[in-house]
Every structure is written in structure tokens, then in C-alpha cells.
Symmetry: C2
């Protein structure tokens, strides 16, 4: 058996085109193009690369790039003041604070200054609460990108047994909530789980977000299951994930590769969130 | 095999005595006795009974009963104004809005007026977000009462497979988060779960909060498992739970009865939350 491969780049491109269309429609209907304020503090080269990709994608979708860059030694109160300014600015639909921030800053305290309705990363406690209570809100980009991949490949979720490996605030926990919202029976595994392979073999849908290279082998996959690999690791032979791709692809029914699977979805969902935020803000403003 | 029975009344009594001791210590250290503001809107007899029990327990623990009663036809803005007044009042450590509120009121909108630090029911979106992100906050009373029962009976949770039936905002979802926080591998089941009995048979700890009388039989329980019954139903033969008690008690290692299991814990944990809230507020005030 050889698994169907989910092409994350293609799905991400599709989402980005739909967002661009949505932006054009919003503007044609008399609205304003959504503005995304990426906030980068310091000069970490990896963060610079990420932020640049986000800004480019934002412009390509017809949105306004409202990037702000603060020096790495900025005091907490100045970073907080910038976020407050962006929070109050009606041109700013979404605010993304690029993490990690320099060590002297309290990133959690900074995140709380982002209003829930502009939190396009979906990482604030307010949005985590809305998700936990099943109420409308902005969802974290990576797990909602996984749902998008599953939906566009027609993977049934209602009644399916979904297993999530990993319980991070960024991916694992919101992933479990989103799968539950879609009526899957959800099991959350982690480092303390006793027989991980046995838990995983019960999954119709297996989402691996453990951050451990090659953690999941073919013995942990039910024949025909859908395997989504959120891991990304730079090694001697290029990028690899949390899943032993070649072996698992022989057993799984559907699988995401690394790179080119979940990765490209994160920015696509950031754009989708920014459009959603702008729509909500502009419809509220018009009332 | 006959299961050990968890005596919820005894554990609740123990918790209430500990809270009373904590209140006395707080006052002895120069603090103020915690004040609990129960808010009852209208004259629903069942709600009146619940609120009376809470007020009595509060006084018995040495706390101040700051009960408020509004007429059943109170307009939304007046109910909101009362909650705002209680939120601002330093004598009020905790606010509990008794649910359900009369149909013409928007209960969700009222709940958002309770500040997270006075939300002793742990039901606001803010506290749900703190729980989801594993940050300190007030936890919902019933699921934290279940954790207390498990802890005081020495039921190991780390690495255990816990199965929760039910995904309500009040019990099922926060229960899963609390079990995950204690390093259990957690599965959440619900009405769409395909083979419920098979899922349950894998549980070392089974928490049933489905609201369906006698849903869980002996065939759904692993020999020796711990079974916690959150259900409560009034029938011809008195109160029963979601679990077929007599049959399951022959298979389980440990079980809670209905009544006298989880039920008494809810008020005990409300008192514990009110003490916690008062301690946090008074230590912050003193800084």
C-alpha cells in the first residue's frame, strides 16, 4: 500500500488565492484592505526570514503590510506601548508578535495586550478560552491549517478516532479541541503516555506534533490511516519530520510530507485569520 | 471483585474543614474573611435550594455570605450593573451567578462581567483560556472536585489512560484538561463516538459526564478501573447516575456512588475556590 500524499503547498496556494479573492471582494464592497502588523523585536535571522515570508504573503493577497521593527534591547514598556498603539489603530486588522522575543522581555505579558479580535495568531488566552468553550474566535494557524488539509482531502472526522501526539499550547492542545469540535473521538498523547505505538495504531487520523525527529514508525500506524506530520527538523539530509516518512507511507492511506505538508499552511491560515478579523471589525464598525 | 467505594461526602467534609481552617488562618494573619456573592435571579425552586446550600456552606466555613437576589423580570442592564458593582467591591472575593437565568436574559453576556479573579465557578471564557494554556486560574468546581476525589484515594493519574465521556463546557472539556495537566493520556468520547464500550474498556480512570441515565454498564469497564459518575438523575427509585452502579461495582476497582459521590464535591470546591480567590486578592492588595 502506498499512501496518497497531501500536497500542502498546493492547498496553501488555494487558500491564499481564496483569501486574495475575499480581500478584493471586501474592498469592492466599500471596505478597507485588511492590514497586518507583524512585530519583530531584535535581529534573530530565523525570525527575520519568517516575518519576511509573512509580509510577502500578506502583500501578495492584497493586504496592507504594516510591519514594525523594534531594537533587540527595547524595554518592556516600549514594546507594550507599540502593541497598544496597534491595538487602537483601525487600519490594523491583525497583530502578530513574532516569537521568541528577546530574553529580557515578558512575552506572555506582551501577548495579553493584543485584543482577541486582532490576535491573528490565535495564541492569546482569550482566544484559547473561546476555542475551549466552542465559541467563535480566531484559531491558532497551524492546527487550523491541519483541519483545512483534512477537509480538502475529504478525510472524514465525525466519529473518527483521532490521536494527537503533543500537548503544546501552540499546536497539540488546540488541535485536540478543533478535532473534537468536528466530532472526532480524540486521544491526546505525550511524553508520559505508556504505550505510544498502541495508542497511535487506534487512530483513523494521527496528528504528530511532538517535536521529536522520526518518533512515529510504521508499527504505530493503522493500515489506511491519515497521518499528519507537524514536526520539522533540519538534519544532515535536509528537512525531516516527526514521522518516518518512507516507512509510514507504505502503511498509511494518506500522509503529509515534510517539507511541503503542514508547513505552508501556517502562513495561509494567518492570511485567512487576518481577512476574518478585518471582516468582523468592518462589519461591527458599520453597525 | 467488589469495588472500593469513594465516599464523596466524607472527602467533601474534609475539604470544607480545610477551607474553614484556611479562612481562620487568613483572618488571624490580618486578612479579611472571604466574601461570596451568590446571585440568584428569579424564583426557580431548584435554584433556590442550590443557592441556599452554597450560602450555608459558605457561612459554615467562616466566610461572609453576600447573597443578592434579583426579581425574575429584571432587565439585562440591571443584572449587569449588579455584577459590575460586585466586581468592584473589595469585600466580594467570589461571584457566583446561579444558572440557568430567566430566558429573557443573555447569561453569557452576564458571565463576561465577572472578573476572572472572582469567577469562583471557573466558568468564564477567561478562566477556560487559562486552563487550556495551563496557566494559574480558578478551575470549574465539578471537574476539580473529581481530581480531588482521585487524589485523596491515591488513584495514580500520571501515565494512566483516562477516558472522559461528555464534552460540556461545564464538566467534560475542563475535566479532560485537568487530567491532561496531571499527565494522563486522555480520550474524550461523546455522542458521535463509534464504539463507546470499547473506548471505555481501555480506561484506567473513567469519568462519566454524559447526562444519560445508566449509560455505562459492566461491559464498558476494565476490571480494576476507577469509575467516576458525574451524572445525577431523579427517577422512580431515587437518584441514579450515568453508571449502572450495581453491575459496574462488581468489575471496577474503585467507584463513586450516586448520590454521595461527586455531588458533594462541587460546593466544597466552590468554597476552596473562594478562599483561593480571597488569598490572591489580599496578597495582591498588600503588595
Amino acid at each position: 500500500m502506498t499512501a496518497e500524499i497531501i500536497d500542502g503547498r498546493a492547498v496553501a496556494q488555494q487558500v491564499r488565492e481564496e483569501v486574495a479573492k475575499g480581500v478584493a471582494e471586501l474592498v469592492a464592497a466599500g471596505g478597507t484592505a485588511p492590514g497586518l502588523a507583524t512585530v519583530l523585536i531584535g535581529d534573530d535571522p530565523a525570525s527575520e526570514v519568517y516575518v519576511r515570508s509573512k509580509r510577502r504573503a500578506c502583500v501578495a493577497a492584497g493586504m496592507v503590510d504594516l510591519h514594525r521593527h523594534l531594537p533587540g534591547d527595547v524595554p518592556q514598556h516600549e514594546a507594550a506601548a507599540l502593541l497598544d498603539e496597534l491595538a487602537a489603530d483601525p487600519a490594523v486588522s491583525g497583530i502578530l508578535l513574532q516569537l521568541p522575543t528577546p530574553g529580557h522581555l515578558d512575552a506572555e505579558a506582551l501577548l495579553t495586550r493584543i485584543p482577541a479580535e486582532k490576535d491573528v495568531d490565535g495564541l492569546t488566552t482569550a482566544n484559547a478560552g473561546l476555542l475551549a468553550q466552542g465559541r467563535p474566535g480566531l484559531r491558532p494557524c497551524t492546527p487550523s491549517g491541519v483541519i483545512e488539509l483534512l477537509d480538502r482531502h475529504g478525510v472524514p472526522l465525525s466519529g473518527a478516532h483521532a490521536v494527537v501526539i503533543g500537548r503544546s499550547v501552540l499546536v497539540g492542545k488546540p488541535m485536540a479541541q478543533l478535532l473534537l469540535e468536528r466530532n472526532a473521538t480524540v486521544t491526546i498523547c505525550h511524553s508520559r503516555t505508556r504505550d505510544l505505538a498502541a495508542e497511535c495504531r487506534r487512530a483513523d487520523v494521527l496528528v504528530v506534533a511532538a517535536g521529536i525527529p522520526s518518533l512515529v514508525g510504521a508499527d504505530a500506524v493503522k493500515p489506511g490511516a491519515t497521518v499528519i506530520d507537524v514536526g520539522i527538523h533540519r538534519g544532515e539530509h535536509g528537512l525531516t519530520g516527526d514521522v518516518q516518512y518512507d516507512a509510514v507511507a507504505e502503511v498509511a492511506g494518506t500522509i503529509t510530507p515534510v517539507p511541503g505538508g503542514v508547513g505552508p499552511m501556517t502562513i495561509a491560515m494567518l492570511l485567512a485569520n487576518t481577512l476574518t478579523a478585518a471582516r468582523v471589525q468592518q462589519s461591527t464598525g458599520r453597525r
